[in-house]
């Protein structure tokens, strides 16, 4: 800490702070345009000029000058105010004063400073800019005439997003922010540049002209897409969510969002939302009253054991716990599950066996504190973009080493000094086993590893996974595997990250155990910057596991439930929010099961394909309309409250389940807060949490570790067949699950399914971008558009699973790798 005097006030500040940070820390405001606390100091705008006595009254920028002991700083002498006024005059010289039509008005730093410094006239004269405005993409509008050249957009795109779409082009008075070759913007559309723009040069088009900033009510919430648990501020007007608002103080990610979080909110107020309960009469779904619909459902639920349920992990903890109570106590069935059964098995089976707890042994915050990151599949960026930003910052700012084991290259592979081992699809577990074997063989393991139960078994079980043998099988070289093993073992702190999800059948309990074995062998767990982080797919996937909403004690899991529907053992199926017809493997089987089941109840936001097959459809509520808690992938429990009033004809799932409990003769808790008190009392790690404590900010549920080595089963990847390509499924950056299909933003950039294939395969099959391909597997065939990319290795094709218009599960039956033929 150093002692400085700012405006005659004695204050202390950390040694690394700049004058600007020191002043801010002590409640002294210095005006600024070009600074964001996430970015490196830049010093472009000259608004933050201050005087330092030791520097002989020279005016120096506060945002780039570090504090030193005994500095005497003045932030607002008449000279400084005069200089700042001049800066504003010069900026306003070229800035078009079109505030009435600019959506930034009201939230504009330049506008606010102009008011604050009373710049009413301009001593200078110059022409305004005449740059053409970029309307070429549906999400971000670039009007460079309004730009003040603070460079924040270019810097955030480089430093955090690591895309580098924007930069300064041309020089002198002609300088502007532009894309490559001064072309139209074509990037991953995370909107980070829009969020930091101090003026209206970059604007979100979905919000264009929708409302003025001051008319919006701001509601903090938690994003309803992936498991990262990003905090959101929703801008609400007339009971409609119109936009997301940037708040640099929000969450661990400091307001950073991805394309889904920032532009995917439209599903909340979609005109397609269900607004009335539907009951099937004479083969057609007819509108009905809640009373009739719930009475019908309650009557069927009385049949007891022949009832089964599937729930989406997008429900709140309270809803999942209440649903479980309804099923176990009031209905009397153990058959319930979520996420197709396999998407949570890494946690519920893998980590439970390896760490004694169904949760990751690291948090997202560990990424930047680590020395080495081992990422399994480059898709970790696509599934959890904001976690990807953390990886970007760790690698670029903190010098963290990044190694990736993946079946394809990806954005993470492009980071500086990242090594990507591209193996044949389906070999992840074998490669991890080979690394473990190398660590044991080369005596790189820590001594404490031998005391962990199961050590002897793992040593024998790994004998067949020599680096050479696995290299031959996986298409890697033994040297690469050994190098990675020694790097991982010798790094002081190392963290393993892997995504799971309904598109990643191979990321199961075995993969989790194989990854955990590495951490256990080298003692890299339970410490800062170490551990294994499983990125769960949906916003409350970890919560669903914590609430125990999965098959246990002999209950049927998702896929067994579907089988039981066909065999007739399950007669009533209650689906809360899942869309198995699109997202579960093997569409034919799912369809047969839903056809066969006698009575299907679906509570949903939209009339999905699954809901369209139901006997009763109950209109439910989105995250913006309910109260409860979500648990993020690293077990951060966060509270959400309604941002808008729900439609009077819809009910939250909590209300639906609680009503059903009453109808079945039970007694339900009245509010989510009461249910959470029960949860906190019974769920390990949740003790001491309550809605009141979580209201202000989320808290981590603690996890106790009880390590054990587990032998992971390594299923050999399917043999390469001549003329066939290996299909791997997964998530695409713009989507998460099937919900994002109803968000306009994601659908603008990625409206349909596709088949991504390598340039080599494209030239062999003479395929060009957007060619319509017939893709066939043993299970069936379907048509997909081609997307030729440089990241796919030859012989491997990738397809995202989110789209009900192109359901990949018509050719994919749940195996990690599917052999397909492709024809034009």
């Amino acid at each position: 800490m150093v002692n400085v005097t700012i405006d005659d006030k004695q204050v202390t500040a950390p040694k690394t702070a700049t004058i600007y940070e020191a002043a801010k820390l002590n409640g002294i405001k210095i005006p600024i345009l070009c600074h964001d606390k996430k970015l490196k100091p830049f010093g472009a705008c000259r608004m933050c000029l201050v005087e330092v006595e030791q520097m002989k009254g020279r005016q120096i920028p506060a945002c780039t000058t570090p504090v030193t002991e005994g500095m005497i700083i003045r932030t607002s002498t008449p000279d400084i105010i005069k200089a700042r006024k001049m800066v504003l005059e010069l900026l306003l010289l070229n800035h078009p004063l079109d505030c009435p039509v600019c959506d930034k008005s009201g939230d504009c730093d330049l506008q606010n400073l102009t008011y604050e410094y009373k710049v009413n006239t301009n001593r200078f004269k110059d022409e305004k800019f005449h740059h053409s405005i970029d309307y070429n993409n549906p999400l971000i509008e670039r009007d460079m005439n309004r730009c003040v050249l603070c460079g924040k957009c270019a810097r955030i795109c480089d430093e955090i997003v690591s895309f580098g779409a924007l930069t300064f082009i041309d020089r002198g008075i002609e300088t502007k922010i532009g894309c490559e070759f001064d072309d139209a913007l074509n990037c991953e559309f995370c909107g980070s540049c829009v969020s930091v723009c101090p003026v209206g040069a970059l604007l979100a088009r979905p919000f264009k002209h929708k409302a003025r900033f001051w008319a919006l009510t701001k509601h903090t919430s938690v994003c309803g897409y992936c498991g990262t648990g990003c905090n959101l501020t929703l801008g609400v007007k007339d009971n409609k969510v119109l936009t997301t608002i940037y708040d640099e103080n929000q969450g661990f990610h400091k307001g950073q969002l991805c394309v889904r979080g920032r532009f995917g909110y439209q599903f909340i107020n979609s005109a397609q939302r269900l607004t009335s309960p539907l009951v099937r009469k004479n083969g057609k779904l007819m509108e009905t009253s809640w009373d009739e619909a719930l009475e019908l459902v309650a009557g069927r639920l009385k049949t007891g054991t022949s009832v089964a349920a599937l729930a989406t992990p997008r429900l709140t903890n309270e809803e999942l716990a209440l649903f479980k109570t309804l099923l176990l106590e009031n209905v009397g069935t153990k058959n319930f599950d979520h996420s197709a059964g396999f998407a949570h098995s890494a946690l519920t089976e893998g980590f439970t066996r390896s760490f004694g707890e169904s949760a990751s042994s690291a948090s997202i915050l560990d990424i930047q504190k680590s020395d080495m990151l081992l990422v399994i599949k480059t898709d970790a960026y696509e599934t959890h973009p904001v976690v990807g930003f953390e990886v970007n910052m760790a690698v670029k700012n903190k010098g963290v080493k990044l190694s990736i084991i993946s079946d394809k290259r990806g954005k993470l592979s492009k980071l500086p000094d990242a090594t990507t081992l591209v193996h044949r699809p389906g070999c992840e577990v074998a490669v991890l086993n080979a690394i473990a074997k190398t660590i044991i063989d080369e005596k790189l393991s820590v001594d404490t590893a031998m005391t962990v139960p199961g050590y002897a078994e793992i040593v024998t079980a790994l004998s067949e996974f020599s680096a050479e043998a696995v290299a031959a099988q996986s298409g890697l070289t033994a040297a690469d595997i050994k190098k990675l093993a020694s790097e991982y073992a010798t790094a002081e702190k190392a963290l393993i990250v892997f995504p799971v999800g309904q598109g990643y059948a191979g990321h199961n309990a075995d993969l989790a155990s194989a990854a955990a074995n590495l951490a256990l062998l080298t003692g890299k767990y339970g410490k800062e910057g170490c551990g294994v982080l499983c990125l769960s797919e949906k916003n409350n996937s970890q919560g669903a596991v914590d609430m125990g909403f999965y098959a246990q004690d002999g209950g049927l899991n998702s896929l067994q439930i579907l089988d039981a529907c066909v065999s007739g053992a399950v007669k009533t199926l209650f689906i809360a929010g899942e869309d198995p017809l699109t997202s579960y493997p093997d569409r034919t089987k799912v369809k047969a099961a839903l056809d066969a089941v006698e009575f299907l109840v679906v509570s949903e936001l939209f009339l999905t394909e699954t809901a369209a097959m139901a006997d009763v459809v109950l209109p439910a509520c989105s995250f913006a309309e309910k109260e409860g808690t979500f648990t993020s992938t690293d077990r951060r429990v966060q509270f959400i409250k309604p941002a808008i009033r729900k439609n009077a004809q819809t009910k939250t799932d909590f209300e639906i389940f609680s009503d059903l409990i009453t109808r079945l003769g039970g007694q339900s808790v009245a509010t989510p807060a009461e249910k959470f008190t029960e949860i906190a009392a019974h769920t390990p790690g949740y003790a001491g949490l309550s809605h009141i404590t979580l209201r202000k900010e989320g808290a981590f549920a603690t996890a106790a570790t009880k390590p054990a080595f587990v032998v992971p089963n390594s299923t050999p990847s399917p043999a390469i067949e001549n003329g066939k390509l290996a299909l791997v499924t997964g998530s695409v950056l713009y989507h998460n699950g099937t919900l994002s299909q109803y968000g306009e933003g994601p659908m603008h950039v990625c409206p349909e399914g596709y088949l991504e294939l390598s340039r080599m395969d494209a030239s062999v099959y003479k395929i060009a971008d957007n060619d319509l391909l017939t893709v066939s597997s043993a299970a069936g065939s379907m048509q997909l558009k081609a997307k030729v990319s440089s990241r796919m290795p030859a012989g491997v094709v990738f397809a995202p699973y989110h789209f009900s218009s192109a359901p990949i599960n018509s050719i994919w039956t749940g195996s990690p790798v599917t052999m397909v033929t492709v024809a034009k």
Partner: protein, 133 residues
Amino acid sequence: MNPITPIINGMKITFKHMFMKPVTLQYPTERPKVSQRFRGLHGLKVSHSKAKCVACYLCPTVCPAKCITVEAAEDANHDKYAAVYEIDMLRCIFCGYCVEACPVDALKMTGEFELANYHRQDFIYSKERLLEK
């Protein structure tokens, strides 16, 4: 005082007024001439054959009676215009703040004061009715 005196004084005034110009108007055959700055019905000014209004929402923001509804939209040239511009004359207090707030001089208050109507709905003036003819 002579009790007749007040009556005479009073009648004097009465008779004087019989020969003066009447102050009342024979409305509706005779109509008042309103002053330049009279605050009557609003009018949306037109320039280049379209409304000058750019839908900046300053008038609904400043309106103390909350009687103005604006909904902005983007036209074919990506310009902002008011797709909906409504004033509820039953709520309006004719304070003229909206005219004062308008940054593009798109709004005025006319001398039109005959705003009576039969239905509540008819008091909500749409953009079409407000545009100056």
